[in-house]
Symmetry: C2
Subunit: 181 residues, 2 copies
Amino acid sequence: MTIERVSFVAGACGEWRIQSVTAITGAGLPVATHLKRQEGGEPEDGATWTLRGVRSHQRYTQRPEAATLMARQAGLDRHDASHGALLPIVKSEAWWHLAQDDRRAIFEETSHHIAIGTEYLPMIARRLYHGRDLGEPFDFLTWFEYAPAHSAAFAELLSRLRATEEWRYVVREIDIRVVRS
Amino acid sequence: MTIERVSFVAGACGEWRIQSVTAITGAGLPVATHLKRQEGGEPEDGATWTLRGVRSHQRYTQRPEAATLMARQAGLDRHDASHGALLPIVKSEAWWHLAQDDRRAIFEETSHHIAIGTEYLPMIARRLYHGRDLGEPFDFLTWFEYAPAHSAAFAELLSRLRATEEWRYVVREIDIRVVRS
């Protein structure tokens, strides 16, 4: 549970080739050809853009959900997971003003965020990074990896999440799709 | 709910004169004569030490508790609140590995952290800053302000909190007492 910093560095090189950068809600990001996900250390200069965050403790997950996730979760860097996606997200001030129980209720009891994500495990591997306390432009950076055969499942996962009550609090979202270089 | 950065700067000047720096659990901090609490901006160089954090959203407070706190809370910088205290705290890895519901249960249902603090409002004003996601040495920096007449009440508040189940997860705590210069 050590805090691990991550940098997503867009530029002319990196292990992932960018296929698309789509602004779903709010302002987009400049186009670049490659993306690098770097955990730890300081990224080099000269990037088109760099998004930063930290791996940190879980904010809404309850014990039975954590146990299920632990049992079903998939690691990153699987040989066949040649497709990736980065979803930077900002939630509204109204969201952050809600009490913890109200946020939890919207997140899971109403929107089933954890339950939906769990349905797609271990097909769609996922890692969440937090940027809000760092003063970064995005509250969350969520990274996904999956095999090409699961592209339709990934599209369905996103479609279901974006239809939730929780997503009404998303004021900026960018959808960045990549494949291994 | 904008993220506001804070720096607690210990050195040769500042609006608060340091009376004591006591290591309650774990390693202490070097002695200095003055303390400055600076929200926003970048502190000057030359400090004996600087502790950083952010004001951020509430992590455990439920809606009725938030309403009670809002109704009873006291602001900082009250004319008669000439005494202050800074309590930097680190919680154990075991704490951060707990699920959200387990942390909440220890925090409030077992340890009554919010309920105890509320009893001392508006006498003891309090502001919490988070440092963990920033990679700072302390997970929390809690700042208190109170009138001299409420010194005994403040001692009682700390004594009650330190006797809780929650405090068994505190692996480093420093108690810094100050008075207005």
